[in-house]
């Protein structure tokens, strides 16, 4: 080897450093992801004085490179010499916190938050807090939005004068000219409130919250709803009525549907935050209004929360509130004009039965379930069917089966294959709930019909469904009900159906496994072997693939005398693929 003074351990590092500027993004990205290796080789001193200044100015790069860089720098403390020098990481992260790409900025802020914890209280005031101030008073809104996420991490650890400054900066950003910054401030309001002293929450935060909640832009107002949850959690119960509720009531009746949507979407959180008394007096009527809102998006969001809201009502008069206030609204939603609303409701309505008990369910909810099972929109019916288990526990599924069956049959024959696919996926669940007799009597034919559907995705799902059914009902059931029908398809004139036979055999063998070697050898193997003479090559190579799967279950005699000759014949087939798979099977089964 040449170069006695050379150090070949440096070579890979040298490549990594050079590739930081490679024209290929993938190589640059690769180098950035190994930044810690580079830093380790350079040592803490050179990392601080050379590598970091270089990185600070590399913000021209592609987003994914910058994202990786922002992430790396969050874990760099030890590589620059430990907590004592952690502030060296601030300049590159500061420049990353001002780029236009939100994901990169957010990651830079996340890393800044992380390393803020590694600053000593002194460093926090000397280095970190000035950075926050710089960002907060930056010319461009990108830097000011980033600042919003940093207040809460430094506030608890600085002196009271600095605290006052931080509060002032946050206040300024809450009334910033650009909606982007006000939105960033509104979304961090709750988090900032959590680290503030209670007195300041009451004096500062509440006024900011009220102002943001009545901002001229609805995109800002809707974020205040989220803050409402955290603020309400912080305040003592007696203050909620005066400090939070006026704003919340206003939001629930906001002119903009997006704000009302947000209230509906956060309803369970709000309910928990304000406690049972306010829930009873305020939230119940508000919830009723949201369920009757003129905008379908809002109704759908509220409908989604029906179960959760009812569950969390105070138990002492839960039933009464549901029966007199909520249920009438729910009844109306069942015949809503918008299908998204109905389908949102259908996905949760079954959950009410556990809350209301057997009698109420039979008397009040059952008619609604039945109506939804007959809904014109397949998604509504599917959502009801997918949640059958809740009702089964309370009243037993028999109550529903009369309506259930026509609904299932109709979905099973829906013209849209995605609908058929969805109902197939619920078959194993239904089979479990309804029991084997009901299944054999009513649903088995459907399952078999899907096997010859004209859409491949359906046939595939039907095959997979068979596997799940066999797992549920056992191998004996498979032998009696499934296997004869599947094997019958081997003579179908359509080669796609003949292939389905093979696919089904693959999964049945997989499920029944070794103990049921008998079925495999006696019933299925002959059929598979016979199909090796099929005129369609696709069928023949699938025979080879099937034999490869069946092989391990068979005894060596059958393998040698029956399988081997067939595979050997297939291995000399005129078709290339058939040959390939036959040879593969021979080598896997070690028959060579």
């Amino acid at each position: 080897m040449a170069g006695a003074d050379g150090d070949d351990s440096l070579y890979p590092i040298a490549v990594l450093i050079d590739e930081l500027r490679n024209e290929d993004v993938q190589l640059r990205l690769n180098s950035i992801k190994k930044l810690s290796t580079i830093a380790l080789a350079l040592g803490v001193e050179r990392t601080r004085t050379e590598l970091l200044p270089f990185l600070t100015d590399t913000i021209y790069d592609e987003d994914e490179v910058l994202l990786a860089l922002a992430e790396q720098l969050g874990n760099f403390t030890m590589l620059v010499g430990g907590p004592e020098y952690v502030h060296c990481l601030l300049p590159p992260l500061e420049s990353l916190a001002t780029v236009e790409e939100t994901v990169v900025r957010d990651k830079a802020v996340e890393s800044l938050r992380k390393i803020s914890q590694e600053h000593s209280p002194v460093d926090l005031e000397v280095h970190f807090e000035p950075l926050v101030k710089r960002l907060a008073s930056g010319d461009w809104f990108t830097s000011r939005t980033s600042a919003c996420g940093l207040f809460s991490v430094c506030y608890p650890r600085v002196s009271s004068t600095v605290k006052a400054e931080i509060r002032q900066h946050f206040r300024t950003l809450c009334s910033d000219d650009t909606p982007m910054v006000r939105r960033a401030a509104a979304s961090k309001l709750g988090e900032f409130a959590k680290v503030l002293e209670l007195d300041y929450v009451k004096s500062d935060i509440i006024s900011l919250f009220t102002a943001l909640a009545s901002d001229e832009q609805d995109s800002v107002r809707l974020l205040a709803v989220e803050a409402c949850v955290s603020i309400a959690t912080l305040l003592p119960q007696e203050d909620l009525e005066t400090l939070v509720m006026p704003t919340l009531r206003q939001a629930a009746e906001d002119k903009s549907w997006r704000v009302r949507y947000m209230v509906a979407d956060k309803f369970s959180e709000l309910q928990k935050a304000v406690g049972p008394e306010i829930t009873k007096n305020d939230l119940v009527p508000a919830f009723q209004n949201l369920l009757k809102d003129c905008e379908a998006e809002v109704r759908a969001a509220a409908a989604n929360k029906v179960k959760e809201f009812c569950e969390n009502l105070p138990e002492d008069n839960r039933e009464q509130i549901i029966m007199t206030h909520i249920l009438p609204c729910v009844k109306e939603l069942v015949s809503d004009t918008n299908q998204h609303v109905k389908s949102a409701l259908a996905s949760v309505i079954m959950g009410l039965s556990t809350i209301l008990g057997k009698d109420n369910t039979i008397e009040h909810l059952l008619p609604l379930f039945l109506a939804q099972l007959k809904d014109e929109c397949p998604e509504v019916r599917l959502n009801i069917i997918s949640n059958l288990d809740c009702v089964n526990e309370v009243i037993g599924i028999r109550q529903l089966s009369q309506s259930l069956l026509p609904a299932i049959v109709e979905l099973a024959e829906d013209a849209k294959w995605r609908v058929r696919l969805a109902i197939i996926e619920y078959m194993p669940l239904l089979a479990g709930q309804l029991g084997v007799e009901f299944f054999d009597e009513k649903l088995n034919t459907l399952c078999m019909a899907w096997l010859i559907d004209h859409v491949y995705a359906i046939r595939e799902a039907a095959t997979c469904n068979l596997m799940k059914l066999v797992e549920k009902f056992g191998a004996e059931w498979a032998q009696n009900t499934i296997v004869p029908k599947v094997l019958g398809m081997a003579n179908d004139p359509n080669y796609l159906h003949r292939m389905t036979t093979l696919f089904c055999i693959n999964v049945i063998v997989h499920c029944c496994g070794y103990p049921y070697r008998e079925i495999t050898t006696k019933q299925m193997l002959p059929v598979v072997l016979k199909m090796s003479n099929d005129q369609v090559a696709n069928v023949r190579f699938n025979v080879a693939k099937s034999l490869q799967k069946i092989g391990p279950v068979l005894d060596s005699n059958a393998l040698q005398t029956e399988v081997k000759p067939v595979l050997e014949k297939l291995a000399s087939d005129t078709d290339m693929d058939v040959k390939y798979f036959a040879q593969e099977a021979i080598s896997v089964l070690a028959l060579a």
Binding site: A14, E216, S219, E297
Partner: protein, 453 residues
């Protein structure tokens, strides 16, 4: 300033002209949109060849003090390429229909550009440093022996000549079945809308794979189609309000707070038709080709074939002001129909300038024969100016032009019959803070500035 549209002490003078002088104009070079950014520092043009050219305002200095209206090329890039939709067997032109700047968010500048189908977000940024020093190469680019590396070199950043880069940041595709006629950035700074003939979509600037359809006027049966959307714009301050104009000369104002779908408008602006002037061409010439909110958001302006109308958002039954752009063409509509000029889409733009005592409103829009018109809303004066090579001497004052309407043609007047209908000014832009205007005349971009005596 006593009125930008003429007056004793106010005149417009020539500042610059961009583009080739050749009589022979390449189709690809025809300018299809002009737009100043928010500060007026940059001026973007798009052309039929799919290119975007950005001009930057020349910095004034002590020895060159009169550079208010001087712009130099800052960046040129190919925004759109011609495409072919194989499913519909349809050619997609690369022509840039609209450019809209985004409010500045950091040192870089961003703009949206669109052709008929695809909207793109571009970043225009500067770079003045370059990294130097490799481990495996020496200064001349020769490879070093990898086994002779004795120490590691970290690249150092060195200053270099300023380089301006334009990079595509996002591509918003596959959302429009018909031709996109407008894009407009919302005042919430995070969404924008795009309108085609029948639908308006709302996009988030950071999300390209999803947009919300907020207006859809496509009838179930296309034979029942009676009107199309011609332009749409977001309100400058209220993020929930937008307007769209139609080929029937009406404007609908929608409030996104009311419902997720804005099929039902909250205001409907329409001027009752004068039955006496009804003709075969009435519907064609009443079609609105452009709609723009005033900076305050209190008014909006619409351009139809022969006039510009100013509407107060609080009055739906008629415009507050109507300005005739080229009324003399009313008798020529038949021949303008035959040569298709009647379907030209003229745009219009506002100027709002105010001091503590004055509040000036002016309007600019284009006409034929390379004429463009200005209307002063305070003084009600109007002026016709011409963008031509003949008067393109530095700081030459623009002479008002007159078209003779009566039988007798006075001196300095041009007869209607000698107007050149191939020279049309469709796109103009007014500097947001200064009396500097950009006028696109076919393949040339003229820049004029005011001259106060």
């Amino acid at each position: 300033m006593a009125g930008v549209a003429g007056g004793n002490d106010f005149q417009w003078c020539f500042s610059q002209v961009k583009g080739a002088i050749d009589e022979d104009v390449a189709e690809a070079d025809i300018i299809s949109t002009v737009e100043f950014n928010y500060s007026g520092e940059l001026l973007a043009t798009g052309d039929k060849g799919g290119r975007v050219v950005i001009f930057q305002h020349e910095q004034e200095s002590k020895n060159r003090p009169h550079l208010r209206g001087e712009y130099n090329v800052y960046s040129t890039f190919q925004s759109h390429e011609p495409e072919f939709d194989y499913l519909k067997s349809l050619e997609i032109e690369e022509k840039i229909n609209k450019i809209r700047w985004l409010p500045q968010q950091n040192a870089a500048h961003f703009l949206l550009s669109t052709n008929d189908k695809t909207i793109k977000l571009w970043k225009i940024s500067e770079r003045d440093k370059r990294a130097e020093g490799y481990n495996l190469k020496d200064e001349d680019g020769r490879l070093r022996d990898p086994f002779r590396i004795t120490s590691l070199r970290v690249p150092v950043l060195m200053p270099m000549d300023l380089m301006v880069e334009a990079s595509p940041r996002r591509i918003f595709a596959n959302a429009h079945t018909y031709h996109i006629n407008s894009i407009s950035v919302n005042s919430d700074h995070e969404t924008y809308l795009s309108a085609d003939d029948l639908r308006i979509n709302l996009w988030h600037l950071e999300i390209t794979d999803r947009s919300f359809n907020i207006v859809d006027i496509k009838p179930a049966n296309m034979e029942e189609l009676t009107e199309v959307i011609t332009a749409a714009e977001c309100h400058p301050h209220q993020c929930n309000v937008f307007v769209y104009s139609s080929s029937k000369g009406t404007i609908r104002l929608c409030d996104m707070r009311a419902a997720a779908l804005c099929d039902r408008h909250s205001k409907f602006f329409e001027e009752p038709e004068d039955p006496s002037s009804r003709s075969f061409f009435s519907e064609i010439i009443s079609s609105i080709s452009d709609v723009k909110f005033s900076h305050s958001g209190r008014y909006m302006m619409t351009r139809d074939y022969l006039s510009v109308k100013v509407w107060d958002l609080n009055m739906e039954n008629r415009p507050v002001e109507t300005y005739q752009v080229h009324e003399y063409l009313r008798s020529k509509l038949c021949s303008l129909y035959e040569n298709d000029c009647i379907f030209d889409k003229f745009e219009c733009c506002w100027n709002e300038w105010h001091s503590q005592v004055l509040y000036l409103f002016a309007i600019m829009t284009g006409s034929y024969n390379n004429f463009f018109r200005m209307f002063d809303r305070n003084t009600r004066r109007d002026i016709t100016l011409e963008a031509s090579r003949e008067s393109s001497k530095p700081r030459a004052t623009l002479k008002p032009r007159k078209v003779s309407t009566g039988g007798k043609r006075k001196k300095d007047e041009i007869s209607v019959d000698s107007l050149d209908f191939n020279k049309k000014i469709l796109h103009t832009a007014w500097h947001p803070k200064d009396n500097v205007i950009a006028v696109a005349a076919t393949n040339n971009l003229y820049i004029f500035q005011d001259k106060i005596n």
